[in-house]
């Protein structure tokens, strides 16, 4: 059953459309990849889906969450959805976490907020979650501050925070872009594992086609604020219909081809 569905979603700034007429739906176990160049409006779409757009931007269309239209809903109504029905993981774990709050308390926060756990229960659950996202020595690590962790560890903490209250939808907005390539692969593997375990519906946003293709089953391609293509990953990769999707696929192939000999040469040196 579809949990989150948007139709005709349009975001405008000073009358200028930044996201135009975007429609799609997301159910449990879905893995949708949203791909597009920077400035194509994909992050704005993600923020709009949780009602987090900065003031001054106007939205129209519909955002149905469990069948109820949330577009333009008061913040109080959104607060019941965020973290509980749907969560988001942002690109930059360095800034998305409070630099001065121990990470355990940051994970425990939403548990206390939504499930009314007391401090020690929430703390225990935070330790469990640190274990689930494979952070080393969880009992000690929950007392660490974000700057004492590596970038990959920070993103694991962010994932634990987002999933702590067992949402049914997870939006991941370029969650690996800020990380080293090897760490990137580890986070992707973790994400794959967690969504398989929890059955959470995933909307994975990226500008990087190979990254998206590895995780998603369905692809949405966005350009200049519009969806230009939508279909199963294999179809889009093999038979891209829009000119833009063709370019994306071709350039990804070129990069892969170029990268291989270069890698070999490095080894020789």
């Amino acid at each position: 059953m579809t949990i989150l569905e948007t139709s005709g979603l349009t975001v405008t700034l000073d009358g200028q459309p930044l996201v135009h007429d975007v429609s799609f739906g997301l159910a449990a176990h879905d893995r949708i990849g949203l791909i597009g160049e920077s400035g194509s409006g994909k992050s704005l779409t993600a923020l709009a889906l949780l009602g987090l757009l900065p003031p001054g931007m106007r939205t129209s269309g519909r955002i149905l969450i469990d069948g109820q239209d949330h577009l333009g809903a008061p913040d109080r109504q959104w607060q019941r959805v965020r973290g509980r029905t749907a969560s988001i993981v942002f690109q930059e774990p360095q800034t998305a976490l409070d630099p001065l709050m121990p990470v355990g308390r940051q994970i425990a926060g939403p548990l206390r907020l939504h499930q009314g756990l007391n401090r020690s229960d929430a703390e225990r659950r935070a330790i469990e979650w640190c274990d689930r996202v494979h952070l080393p020595d969880p009992a000690r690590l929950v007392r660490a501050l974000p700057h004492e962790l590596s970038g990959g560890q920070r993103q694991r903490v962010a994932l634990a925070m987002a999933l702590a209250c067992r949402p049914r939808i997870l939006i991941a907005d370029e969650p690996t872009t800020a990380l080293d390539v090897t760490v990137q692969a580890q986070i992707l593997a973790l994400l794959d594992e967690l969504i398989a375990e929890t059955g959470v519906g995933l909307l994975f946003i990226s500008h990087d086609l190979p990254v998206v293709a590895g995780l998603a089953r369905h692809l949405l391609v966005m350009r200049n604020g519009r969806l230009v293509e939508s279909g199963p990953v294999d179809d889009v990769l093999r038979r891209p219909r829009s000119g833009y999707a063709r370019q994306l696929v071709a350039s990804a192939a070129t990069v892969t081809r170029l990268a291989r000999p270069a890698a070999r040469e490095e080894k020789k040196q």
Partner: protein
């Protein structure tokens, strides 16, 4: 004496708007208008004033505003509007001169600290910190004790007091430029330090300094008024808003209106220059401009 307030730049949650041309910044326009009023009074006083400065009208003491005396008279029967116009001249002159002194000391000091090695830099930072801790008012008091109250003492005290902040800001913004890749590139190419200063550093920091100059002017105008109020500023007969207030305080129970205008004059000047500074910051600050452009996406 007030401390210049620097507003945090409100970016992420700022209302997303597209960039407007500078002349449409409301702060800039309102600030410039207020300041022009004060400048008109100050410059106008060179050509004309309702009465001569030393003109007293013993028959009309402490009168309220009237057709003869637009802003009333004080306890000696002096025309308050005349005093106000000439006071504007004092305020603007001491303000400008103090800012000039502050920049003449602060900018070279800041650049010196930013462009030299650790030892000189640390020494200059130490001096700046101590001068910042050494308040303008106390400096003025020390100087007045030795030399007596005079315009020159007021200008030196305010100028030196403000120069520490100017030096601090110059050093910080210049150091930021010095660590940029294009400066490193220029250095690698063997460009002389002076050339780097002229070609890269100054063009990048002058907007910051200009905004700082507006803040400093506001601080100087308040400092001048405070010194004159305490009797440590420009000595009579030169008129000053601060001394007008000091004289009006003694007659406040019978002539409260005499207090209003000089205070308002200081406020208009300072609010005007602060708004102008805010507006300039919006228009000039390259980082802010970039962030605004980013917000359009």
């Amino acid at each position: 004496m007030s401390t210049p307030v620097v507003e945090a730049v409100d970016t992420v949650t700022a209302p997303a708007t597209r960039r407007r041309p500078g002349w449409r910044s409301p702060s800039l326009v309102v600030g410039a208008a207020l300041l022009l009023t004060v400048l008109a009074l100050a410059l106008g006083s060179l050509l004309w004033s309702p009465y001569a400065l030393d003109h007293t009208d013993p028959a009309a003491r402490l009168t309220g505003p009237s057709a003869q005396h637009w802003a009333g008279t004080d306890r000696l029967g002096r025309d308050q509007f005349t005093q106000l116009m000439l006071g504007a001249r004092t305020a603007v002159w001491i303000g400008l001169a103090s800012v000039a002194v502050a920049f003449a000391i602060g900018v070279p000091l800041g650049l010196l600290a930013a462009s030299t090695g650790r030892f000189v830099e640390n020494a200059v930072i130490a001096v700046i910190d101590i001068v910042i801790a050494f308040p303008t008012l106390l400096l003025a008091m020390l100087l007045v004790t030795v030399y007596g109250a005079s315009t020159a003492v007021a200008i030196s005290a305010i100028g030196i007091g403000v120069s520490a902040e100017v030096a601090r800001l110059t050093r910080i913004s210049a150091s930021r430029v010095f660590t940029q890749d294009y400066v490193l590139a220029a250095r690698t190419c063997g460009t002389r330090p002076l050339m780097i200063l002229v070609r890269h550093v100054l063009p990048n920091i002058w907007p910051t300094l200009l905004v700082q100059a507006t803040l400093a002017f506001g601080v100087a105008v308040i400092a001048e008024a405070s010194l004159s109020y305490l009797g440590l500023g420009t000595p009579p007969p030169a008129p000053s808003w601060g001394r007008m207030l000091q004289e009006a305080q003694s007659t406040v129970s019978v002539a409260p209106w005499n207090v209003l205008l000089p205070g308002l004059a200081v406020a208009v000047t300072v609010v005007g220059i602060n708004l102008l500074g805010d507006g300039l910051r919006e228009v000039l600050d390259p980082q802010l401009r970039q962030e605004r452009r980013a917000a359009q996406r």
